[in-house]
């Protein structure tokens, strides 16, 4: 008798696991958290603080002073700025990721001077 109970508990736990996996695969809209994680691609030149300035990667713009709107940010991240040494990211990031990144830059940096 208890063997059957153990069996059912076993099935129950397996089912519980697969239910959790089903929830995980539901499509989720791009969140601010995605953009923050993606910013590592930008941080090496634009710095973790977004202020840019010189580095071995060139002389990146200060994102806190950007005047670009969302569409323009998406365009720059997608195509890069070839003559100024900013690489393109269309080869490595999806459209959803680039949009999330642009949103993160607007929320985190744009128009917000660095507090000393």
């Amino acid at each position: 008798m208890y063997k059957i109970l153990v069996f059912f508990f076993f099935i129950f736990f397996i089912s519980g696991n697969s239910i959790a996996q089903d929830i995980g695969t539901t499509t989720v809209a791009p969140s601010r958290a995605d953009g923050k994680a993606l910013y590592i691609h930008c941080a090496r030149c634009h710095k973790p603080t977004g202020i840019g300035g010189p580095s071995y990667g060139g002389y990146a713009a200060n994102l806190r002073e950007t005047m670009l709107d969302h569409e323009e940010l998406v365009m720059v991240i997608t195509e890069g700025r070839r003559t100024l040494g900013m690489p393109e990211f269309k080869s490595s990031l999806s459209k959803r990721e680039i949009s999330a990144l642009a949103t993160f830059i607007e929320d985190e940096f744009k128009g917000k001077p660095l507090e000393e």
Binding site: S55, Y56, Y59
Partner: protein
């Protein structure tokens, strides 16, 4: 009674014999370091021997059988996580180290400075102990330009001498990894960091340091290997009153922030008792008008007395450098006939695209040769191996027109200079830190080449601009991939005939050479490519004889050892360093390279 005494005597003699033999085998002493060629089964020097030959005398793996070389075992080294905070964040750490092997025991380091001892006597890696220095993940990497790096340890007596990126050096007991001493030596508060391996000279642990992109003044220091006490410290930039200080012609102490760091391991000559070391770029890197004058001894090969650190001689490769052409590369000692004359030379392949032979007794040039395909910053070198485009009548050099960035009349602090430059080779070199190898059998010197150009602009630096732990570059390099003038960067292994100073051959590669080179008595040259292949070349023709694809990227030099009567080739495979962080725009395929931290060991 007599019988007992006799037996006691015999026991004592046996004990002394075996006890003594054990301590001779296990004790890395000066005699063994001086004559390391006598133990080809071991690799007890970072660069292979004191002369930095990176040559293994082992012959079991050779031209006739290398095609059968295969993976014997691997070891996952861990520590792949990144670190740093403003101004620099690294997404991951990589592997740039050379393993040390003694009597079937291997010592390896990760970029974070973890030291692991592996028992490799049985043809696999059995970890015996691991020392984690627990470097703070934010503080040091934020000010290390070029990766979370550690190029290896050194052995002395029964100690393993180690360094950590955060400026510590110390010694562990090689039997159990326990700490003997540890000292804070470099000042990370002003961006002095450690990335290279220490050099053991008699009872000294000698170390260089890094930080020339952050406005430091370079030095070499020697510490007592038994307790870490400082014995001597020599700045590479002479201070007021010292010879050479007059080549800093400003009146605002630019020399204090002038660079000339020393981040690759030097070489030692036991007979002359000198240490020869290469120095890095002056700072600020690109705004050379901020530091008028030749800026001795930046971009130089220098020799110091091993006991006192006293400066003996220097040779500067690129005076008042506007290109970031470090001269930190290893110095390879070759004794023999060059152009018909016996000489004790030091050979050095420079970032600036020229390879030099100097007389290491006095620093006088013997020959100098271009080793890159394209070189535009000077029309050539004169009979003293000085750039022909050097202008002795000015304090700020521009070299070949169009090659150097410059202020062009702009003086406002932080503003962009009016003149941009395109220079070949790129500031990455030429040849960067990945080391060369020399074969005494072929008489050839093998250089891992970065065939390259880059653009650069100057950013005006005025007195008072410097802030601790901030970039002090005076401009920046950049690549515009679509522009053929400064676009794709490729590579090669280039061989140089030391006796004549001429280029013998070139094995070209799609990507820059970011690994390092090993030459062997089996007639082979081993290296690893940026796209992850370990290869063996014929040491005369450079024909490719064997290749193994790891699927990652290689940023470390190969070495060879013998254990259990079998020869092995070992190489650390792990993308890291400066290239993936800053320069992949010139090698776009490398953007998708996969980080890994694995030691690969090959055998027949």
């Amino acid at each position: 009674m007599t019988n007992k005494i006799f037996r006691l005597f015999l026991t004592l003699m046996l004990f002394l014999m075996f006890g003594a033999a054990n301590s001779i085998a296990g004790d890395v002493n000066q005699a063994r370091l001086n004559d390391s060629e006598n133990e080809p089964q071991n690799w007890i020097h970072h660069h292979g021997n004191y002369e930095a030959h990176r040559f293994s005398g082992l012959t079991d793996i050779n031209k006739s059988n290398v095609a059968d070389l295969k993976v014997a075992f691997t070891y996952a080294m861990g520590d792949i996580q990144g670190g740093g905070t403003a101004p620099i964040v690294f997404p991951f750490s990589g592997l740039e180290g050379t393993p040390i092997v003694e009597d079937g025991y291997m010592y390896v380091t990760t970029g974070w400075g973890r030291v692991t001892k592996l028992d490799v006597r049985g043809g696999k890696a059995v970890p015996l102990w691991s020392h984690n220095p627990e470097a703070d993940k934010d503080y040091a990497p934020s000010v290390t330009c070029c990766g979370i790096n550690n190029r290896g340890v050194a052995l002395h007596g029964e100690k393993v001498v180690f360094k950590v990126i955060d400026g510590r050096m110390g010694a562990l007991d090689k039997h159990d990894g326990s700490m003997i001493w540890e000292k804070q030596i470099a000042d990370v508060g002003i961006a002095e960091v450690f990335t290279g391996a220490p050099l053991i000279v008699k009872n000294l642990a000698v170390t260089g340091m890094a930080g020339a992109e952050f406005g430091v003044r370079g030095w070499i220091a020697a510490h007592n290997v038994d307790n870490g006490d400082q014995v001597w410290k020599t700045y590479t930039i002479p201070g007021p009153g010292e010879p050479g200080h007059e080549t800093w012609k400003d009146d605002y102490d630019a020399y204090k922030l002038g660079g000339g760091t020393t981040w690759v391991t030097g070489s030692y000559d036991p007979q002359l008792n000198i240490i020869v070391w290469g120095t890095a770029n002056p700072g600020p890197d690109w705004d050379n008008a901020a530091r008028p004058g030749d800026n001795l001894w930046t971009d130089s090969t220098i020799a110091v007395d091993a006991d006192t650190g006293k400066f003996l001689w220097g040779f500067q490769h690129t005076p008042n450098d506007p290109y970031d052409y470090d001269s930190i590369a290893e110095n390879t000692f070759v004794d023999g006939s060059i152009n018909g004359q016996y000489v004790r030379s030091t050979i050095h392949a420079n970032r600036n695209g020229f390879v030099y032979a100097l007389d290491r007794t006095n620093g006088e040039p013997i020959w100098c040769t271009q080793f890159v395909k394209k070189l535009t910053w000077t029309a050539g070198l004169d009979e003293n191996c000085r750039p022909v485009d050097y202008n002795p009548n000015v304090d700020v050099q521009t070299y070949a027109p169009g090659s150097a960035a410059g202020r062009g009349g702009v003086t406002e602090s932080g503003a962009r200079g009016a003149i941009e430059g395109i220079s070949c080779p790129a500031h990455t070199g030429g040849k960067n830190w990945p080391p060369t190898a020399y074969s005494p059998h072929t008489g050839l010197y093998y250089i891992p080449v970065i065939e390259s150009c880059n653009k650069a602009f100057a950013g005006i630096v005025n007195p008072g601009d410097w802030k601790p732990r901030e970039w002090y570059l005076g401009g920046a390099p950049y690549f515009t991939f679509d522009d053929p003038a400064s676009g794709r960067i490729t590579g090669s292994v280039t061989s140089i005939d030391i006796s004549t100073g001429t280029v013998r051959g070139k094995w070209e590669t799609k990507f820059p050479m970011l690994g390092g080179i090993l030459a062997t008595g089996g007639g082979l040259v081993f290296t690893g490519t940026a796209d992850g292949s370990v290869v063996a070349l014929d040491d005369e023709t450079l024909q490719e004889l064997w290749r193994f694809e790891t699927g990652s990227a290689i940023n470390a030099p190969p070495m060879s050892y013998e254990a259990g009567g079998k020869q092995y080739i070992a190489i650390e495979v792990g993308l890291g360093g400066a290239w993936p962080q800053w320069f992949t725009d010139s090698t776009p395929e490398l953007k998708s390279a996969v980080p890994s931290n694995v030691l690969y060991v090959f055998a027949l």
